[in-house]
Symmetry: D2
Amino acid sequence: MPLVAVIPKPNAPVELREVPSPELEENSALFEVEFSEVCGTDVYLQQGRLEGVPYPLIPGHVSVGHLSKIRGRLFDVEGREFREGDRVTFLDVHRTCNACWYCLVAKASTRCPQRKVYGITYGLDDGLCGGWAEQIYLKPGTRIIRLDANAETFMVGGCALPTALHAVERGEIAIADTVLVLGSGPVGINAIILSLMRGALRVLCIGAPDQRLEVATQVGASAVFNFEEHDEGERLEWILDQTHGRGADVTIEATGAPDAVVQAMRFTRDAGRVVVVGQYTDHGPVSTDAAFNPHVDLNKKHLDVRGCWGSDFSHFYRGVQIVSHPVHSQLWTALKARLSRYTLAQASEALESVASGRVLKALIAPKFAT
Amino acid sequence: MPLVAVIPKPNAPVELREVPSPELEENSALFEVEFSEVCGTDVYLQQGRLEGVPYPLIPGHVSVGHLSKIRGRLFDVEGREFREGDRVTFLDVHRTCNACWYCLVAKASTRCPQRKVYGITYGLDDGLCGGWAEQIYLKPGTRIIRLDANAETFMVGGCALPTALHAVERGEIAIADTVLVLGSGPVGINAIILSLMRGALRVLCIGAPDQRLEVATQVGASAVFNFEEHDEGERLEWILDQTHGRGADVTIEATGAPDAVVQAMRFTRDAGRVVVVGQYTDHGPVSTDAAFNPHVDLNKKHLDVRGCWGSDFSHFYRGVQIVSHPVHSQLWTALKARLSRYTLAQASEALESVASGRVLKALIAPKFAT
Amino acid sequence: MPLVAVIPKPNAPVELREVPSPELEENSALFEVEFSEVCGTDVYLQQGRLEGVPYPLIPGHVSVGHLSKIRGRLFDVEGREFREGDRVTFLDVHRTCNACWYCLVAKASTRCPQRKVYGITYGLDDGLCGGWAEQIYLKPGTRIIRLDANAETFMVGGCALPTALHAVERGEIAIADTVLVLGSGPVGINAIILSLMRGALRVLCIGAPDQRLEVATQVGASAVFNFEEHDEGERLEWILDQTHGRGADVTIEATGAPDAVVQAMRFTRDAGRVVVVGQYTDHGPVSTDAAFNPHVDLNKKHLDVRGCWGSDFSHFYRGVQIVSHPVHSQLWTALKARLSRYTLAQASEALESVASGRVLKALIAPKFAT
Amino acid sequence: MPLVAVIPKPNAPVELREVPSPELEENSALFEVEFSEVCGTDVYLQQGRLEGVPYPLIPGHVSVGHLSKIRGRLFDVEGREFREGDRVTFLDVHRTCNACWYCLVAKASTRCPQRKVYGITYGLDDGLCGGWAEQIYLKPGTRIIRLDANAETFMVGGCALPTALHAVERGEIAIADTVLVLGSGPVGINAIILSLMRGALRVLCIGAPDQRLEVATQVGASAVFNFEEHDEGERLEWILDQTHGRGADVTIEATGAPDAVVQAMRFTRDAGRVVVVGQYTDHGPVSTDAAFNPHVDLNKKHLDVRGCWGSDFSHFYRGVQIVSHPVHSQLWTALKARLSRYTLAQASEALESVASGRVLKALIAPKFAT
């Protein structure tokens, strides 16, 4: 019976369990986990900060491994059939229905009410549906991609890669624009890399702590600024100094702090674009101090502010193409040096490292010998 | 010497003065005013609520009249030369520079720092540059349009017409969408008309008082709701009832109340669009009660929120085309019945009527015999 | 056993047959046909001009009727369950896979290689899969919509309604634009109606014969021109006369004639848009006489030329909303007077009427007593 | 008196002349030429293949040099005043009017009928208005940009840089797309560089001769193909092999051959985009052999085909930013090695080198000692 790591309930420590291998449905597969990710969402899962989550559950939504057993037939989007032994990854979002108003009329599939997410909205009752495990059960309809990339290059992007890619897409960067990234966590760092790849001439980053800003610089940020050492006024002045007094053309907010959304508007030039991708968890309302003024901050600036929720298969697919490319994959090299690996038994430790910010990206490697 | 009405300084009553007729520069004209508008901005001008305004000034930014004297040659955008006697109107925005970064690189001319506005940012020192006057001096470079429409049909749209047209353009309504308009003042009413013309199947309106909601219904709103009689929760419920529980596809906020911007987000369906066009004056920050939560209200909803500032010649031109069309101009018929006309000597009275909301649209008719 | 009309092979007359009622799969239904459409595609089917069509087949892709039998559970996009007896229609396109590169990465589902179309790419071997029949078998996954509209109003739009709606969507008409529609068949007529609904101030139409141009005028075209009576030069002159010498802002080509694609470019103003929706069948290459010159006709004009293939559920859904609306449905009133109804036994006659152009829209009414 | 090179009339050899220095109008300048470009358009000018060109004329539209004399005041778009001695370049397009329907309503300023182009539509009668000269007269309203870049890096881009940048912008490349560039002349080579900078994962190039394809590879093309050695069928097969059988996501046609426009459609995947930027001169209609079939090549493919004419200040400005950037400018290093420099007296020789294709980019250096 495969070993899994489970969050039994909010605020309880991670536990190891054995779960019986499932009987495969037609057109499904068993996936042997090589690496699975530990991300900020997993920290929130452990803290019980996400609504509607079915505890106990096996965390781990982005994973890489190989198909050990296939029942029926499975194909990739190019129509190539999968074979047992293939090295693959899969889109954590499952069961986007393609039958509801959001899928079919609004064409906003990340808001489909039927969607399930491996490692987040599937619980232990659903079976082997999270990546902190020796095996994952890939249910029928799971979108699988063959992975030729180096496993660690792919995992260092992790779920932040499609998330940041979606945000960059929403930003509609014009060639030679100046982009400002707020936040230097995984989504922020990936947004820097992808903004540069997408035509930005310069990417500025405001984040913390200094070690992360150092990573931001390594992946290509033109200039970085530590928000813990400078108040909002100083940050604004810094941005204006870098942009002929105008502000950034595009700002990608990837912080998790509600007030940063208002600051993002202020740091952006008139008629620019702000993408809000840092508010995946409810951290409450914008503070009174932030003093969000729709006349000054939004209407008079003729600003576009764009929420960016989730990602779909296209973002995941494009992300895999990029990290599988011999040249472009090197953009993640600086990050790879920062990876920390943990066994299933060390999952609680991995969570703490991520929660504390000591580690930029942690992986669970279930077959890793301790 | 032409007679003009002047706001001498903030909070002072309007005064009548005589101003010498200007010596015309090359390629300029004198314009005899038939009607000039009294709008909410004029109320704010009188109350001293706009920054950087050069008192004393002659209000009146949208006007209709005829060219009584031309020096040099003047042409419309189609290349037809103007003649003395032509019935025309002109874009109140003047001197958009076509030489700055905003004009040439961002292509956001409504944010050009050089732009001047007749009746708002031109003061009495600049000469006959406002419409509450027997004559206006059309300086070189003023964008003039021949007007075949009925003068009152055009004026009942007034400055709200290009403003609402720009907002509707920013809303990117898809055919058969449900649009929600917040506010039932001139911009709101024009937004209802233009949303329907632009493909909305249904337009809902939340406003007040009942007389204005009656106008909203007359111009085509499918359903209206009085915000003075219903709290935010009831308004949300009303919207959801009308939209299969989803919210409006597109919301146009045209209220002037900061908190309405947050409500607009909540009243809009996931992955919809909110256009913020009601915050032309600084009414301070969003209130603590509004509790703007970027996770719930923006990011998770995958929402687009678009500030909409000013309008350019294209909006003015398209607006004139529409009200000049024999069929489409009838969309403003219900409004025409609500027009109130005032002489120059009655300008203070006109301002009070607009400020109190008793009158939907007031016109100054300088040649109107009392 | 339900009676059906069958095209046995290319160029053979339509035959009546009896086909056994299917055993229903889980989540499928039987649909009793009230009306099914006879459109230009059916003429081409009979003439053997479409590739890859599985003869014998039952034509009829857009139909209205009611659900006589449901096995399992069926829901609409709003999540409401269907009941036996419900009056419905359904999207003729079936089995768009949501699993291939075109569906998931390009998001161009009308180019999904897996899609099947009732009445066109389903053959008799697939069962009751065409509308010229007493019953249709709605296979699992068929997208069904409850229909509150008058059946004839809906059918007079027919398959041309979503096709034209898609084309109008692709045209990105700006409010107050002048649109030119080439062709006065069903797609052209629906494009006129929808262009007006979508913000065009004026719609011009070049078509033939005069009876159809009369319909164009009745549904709102500002001016019409008979291409049979005027050569290309005269047509161009006519367009320029109507548009200040510039050409149409948006042209929708809905003719079926290859050379019309080149003319559409010439009739459109510089930097305008051309939507090509009239080339659904292979009529061979553009003629030498047409003399398509990419410098003059395309590059120097800075033109956008947009092919428009098929339609997806969103177009069908929006079309149904429009014809179900008490006011907007009246836009099709002029067309309803032109409907011709035929029994199953008269199917060959119906085809001839459509092929000859004598009839604008023919319906098969299987339960119609002759 | 400054020395200039003049094309006296079509097909006549270039002559040297002396032209009196102009008396400067208010807010104008004299510009000392360091380098001016010899491009394909100059070849066509000499061959008399452009319409409406006022011979005799001084060719040379993109130039770099310094301001030797300023009368009045000149500012850049950031509002910084120019001083005599500043190293600058300027947009060759002049007098875009900002007053006509194309400028103000269509917002398509590259189709403004008033625009003049230094070195192309200004003739010798207009004064020192071309770059093959010791001095250029920068008339009032000329858009000047301070140039910090290496002069040769900037000139190796030349007029192809903003042209290709505009084309890439029109292509709306999605991140990780495969782009196909047809043509390996200056526009094609710049399109390769900019497509990569704008998010393409792979850029394919079909061109000739082999030396140019070698340059294409040096600047980053993933694969190249010689069209002189392979017929259309082989080219199509080559593209399909590289793209999972689908075709390129975006094709940029930059060839000058009419038939290439049709091939571009065929080489592009369904629902992709084709940008036509290679048809700046009239080379006649598409050939009968090309057999442009709107059903197969356009409508069924659901293709977007976009003409791309000229470039505006934004493209020029962004291009200057890119070549002034320490890292990005290196993308043009491979091209710099291919530059050939000529004196004014060698202008005919320079034209021949460009016409023959022996030289990729030739510069006139008027102060170059022979």
